[in-house]
């Protein structure tokens, strides 16, 4: 509890995402707008899934804990499916908008590429998802209290923070892979994204046994990270060039003689 836990968990959960935002998105107004639009789409998907869950809860037996838990699991699965559906919807909207904008502007190239849009929209989804998952928990961590006084896990806050971090980054990677697979019409990749999202969410059902949920989630995170890197055009060669500062294109662009 207290301020130390609050700041620690906030930085764990949002640190990388905010860094990504500040370094790559904040300077370009177009990307900021698409980020917020992505967040809005995620919000609408959450709204719809909450609506369905709420209706099912109202017509169910409120006293049966197992039924409520079952309904919650159903709600989670439904929410994941709706999120991916809205991600697809956002993709279609962006595609249409891009074509329209290209026609409207006098330039030959689009001001923002599809890959950048994939990254930005994925991060938008991630920001909103992470914020909704963890902000209430963070604000509770500021106040007085004892964690796990009724026998629950004592690592509630820190595990929530790490889970949120994983989810935000995962959304970003899912966005990149999703859009790329839609562009290339690789439907198996699309299915893989949806399935991995479902797997990550369903893994959280074993909480508070965090070793069962956090470790596999981070494994999936690294796999998705590598996949998204490859989708975005990266390769081992690029990585080597970048790390040894020998990438000529990048150096030329930054006017550094080598």
């Amino acid at each position: 509890m207290t301020v130390a836990v609050f700041f620690g968990c906030t930085f764990i959960a949002f640190g990388p995402a905010v860094a990504l935002f500040l370094f790559t998105i904040a300077k370009d107004p177009l990307r900021v707008i698409f980020l917020i639009a992505g967040a809005f789409f995620w919000l609408v998907s959450l709204l719809l899934s909450s609506l369905v869950w709420f209706i099912t809860v109202q017509i169910s037996n409120k006293n049966s804990a197992s039924q409520q838990r079952g309904l919650l699991i159903f709600g989670v699965v439904l929410s994941v499916m709706l999120q991916e559906t809205f991600r697809y919807g956002y993709y279609r909207l962006l595609k249409k908008a891009n074509e329209g904008l290209l026609a409207l502007s006098q330039e030959d190239t689009m001001p923002i590429s599809m890959r950048q849009l994939a990254y930005v929209s994925g991060l938008g989804f991630g920001f909103m998802s992470g914020a909704f998952s963890v902000v209430n928990i963070l604000s509770d961590s500021l106040g007085p209290g004892t964690v796990g006084i009724h026998g629950d896990s004592q690592h509630y806050f820190i595990s929530s923070a790490f889970m949120t971090l994983a989810i935000i980054l995962l959304h970003m990677f899912w966005g990149v892979v999703f859009f790329e697979s839609c562009e290339r019409q690789r439907w198996w990749a699309l299915g893989a994204v949806v399935i991995s999202h479902l797997v990550v969410s369903c893994l959280t059902f074993v909480n508070p046994h965090y070793q069962g949920s956090l470790i596999p989630t981070y494994i999936i995170l690294s796999v998705m990270a590598a996949w998204a890197y490859l989708c975005a055009g990266g390769s081992l060669r690029n990585l080597k060039l970048c790390l040894t500062c020998k990438d000529k294109d990048f150096l030329l662009a930054n006017h550094r003689p080598r």
Partner: protein
């Protein structure tokens, strides 16, 4: 103690989205014809935003669009303007939410009510409460309409001095009295010991610099900062003094009124804009936030669009208190002279009425005040930003003055009620079990 409704009028005038002179960007003039806010003794001041401000610049904009400026709106240029409005709106909302969450004064319900909402809400009977909130809304909206019409009439008959004086009075009250109150509450919350001489010096400096920045000249950023602070103060006053249900109904009704006033041919705001355009002068600069300053070749001083907005805002608030409706905005109008004759290549930026700032912040502030849920506040925030983005998109397409309230407030209200009632239980259950979606 009742506050007058002039603030509401100023609000209307202020809630206009106007595009500053930028030939390639259509002007969003959103004029909410709001009478200048009247300062009310009781602390309720409603800044009246007047949308009228923009006619001057708008027409100048038109005038300066002449030669050679392409009408085409490039995407990046439009996006930059959207961000230039996102940032101040976000800042204002952040200030209001931070205050609401920390200073309990603004969430305590007092027995005082503004005269604009005379019917008391009885928490025991749902039907009665609903009826009273509708009646309160009717009273408030009619006050706003009356004030706007008076403003238009005053403007038509060129009573500039009257309006000017009113505006100055309004901003005086807002900058000194309300900020003094705010400081007092903050000190009480954090248990800070403060002596009167220091406090007088702080408030005096703050107020005087504000008056100078708003009504005369000052650095652009400082003007913008003062406008944001003024909007936040007004929004806090509204949040405190509007009864619960009435506030929501009023938000909805104000957006409808905004739509009508700006778009209908006989709408007061539209008439105001057209009158100002005929006379080739800017309207009520004090009630509009401008994102960029236009530097005119050959002009000695830079235009201070923001100050105009401020003034108008203050005017509205001041009026509310006394029940006198004055159109401060008009006075402000003269100030914003950014004669657009010399057409510069400068980026003109975009203008948004202060009333819009205020109502956005009222919505988000009320979302933060009722219930300790941050998800609702976040959802309303994103909804309002998306609404503003859509409004700016429409502005780019239609290229004329547009009301900034309807889309954002509609999204905000929808998301507030749905998040509070549907999403909150869902997310709470998920958090309790630590399930992640």
């Amino acid at each position: 103690m009742n506050t007058s409704d002039s603030e509401e009028d100023s609000y209307n005038e202020r809630s206009a989205l106007v595009q500053s002179e930028s030939p390639t960007i259509p002007s969003y003039n959103q004029d909410h014809d709001m009478s200048l806010p009247q300062e009310t003794d009781t602390k309720r001041r409603r800044p009246v935003s007047s949308v009228l401000d923009e006619p001057g610049p708008v027409e100048q904009e038109r005038a300066s669009t002449p030669d050679g400026e392409e009408e085409e709106l490039t995407l990046k240029y439009g996006a930059k303007h959207v961000i230039m409005l996102f940032i101040p709106v976000t800042l204002c909302m952040v200030v209001v939410v931070a205050t609401i969450k920390s200073v309990s004064f603004y969430t305590e319900k007092s027995s005082q009510r503004l005269i604009y909402t005379p019917f008391e809400e009885d928490p025991n009977s749902v039907g009665q409460r609903l009826l009273n909130s509708f009646l309160n809304t009717i009273v408030m909206i009619s006050v706003i309409v009356v004030m706007t019409i008076i403003l238009v009439v005053l403007y038509k008959y060129r009573c500039y001095k009257f309006i000017h004086g009113w505006l100055i009075l309004s901003s005086l009250m807002l900058l000194f009295w309300f900020s003094f109150m705010y400081l007092g509450e903050v000190f009480k919350t954090y248990n800070v010991a403060m002596d009167y001489p220091t406090l007088v010096m702080i408030v005096w400096n703050f107020g005087v610099v504000g008056m100078i920045c708003i009504h005369w000249k000052g650095p652009l950023r400082l003007q913008q900062a003062y406008l944001i602070v003024i909007s936040a103060l007004m929004a806090l006053i509204f949040i405190k003094y509007l009864p619960e249900w009435s506030a929501w109904v009023i938000l909805g009704a104000i957006s409808v009124y905004d739509l009508i006033a700006v778009l209908c041919p006989k709408g007061p705001l539209r008439m105001l804009v057209e009158t100002a355009q005929e006379r080739n002068e800017p309207i009520f600069p004090a009630l509009i936030y401008s994102s960029a300053m236009v530097w005119m070749v050959g002009m000695a001083d830079s235009s201070n669009p923001d100050s105009a907005d401020e003034r108008q805002r203050n005017e509205g608030g001041a009026r509310a208190q006394e029940g006198v409706e004055s159109e401060d905005d008009v006075a402000q109008g003269g100030r914003r002279q950014y004669s657009a004759e010399e057409d510069l290549e400068e980026d003109r930026g975009v203008k948004l009425g202060l009333g819009d700032f205020i109502f956005y912040s009222v919505l988000v502030g009320k979302a933060a005040a009722t219930g300790g849920d941050w998800n609702t506040t976040l959802a309303c925030f994103v909804a309002i930003l998306i609404g503003l983005c859509l409004t700016l998109l429409l502005l780019a397409i239609f290229k004329k003055a547009l009301p900034a309230l309807p889309i954002s407030i509609t999204f905000g209200l929808v998301f507030y009620f749905s998040t509070d009632n549907l999403v909150r239980p869902f997310m709470d259950s998920l958090a309790a079990h630590q399930y992640y979606i």
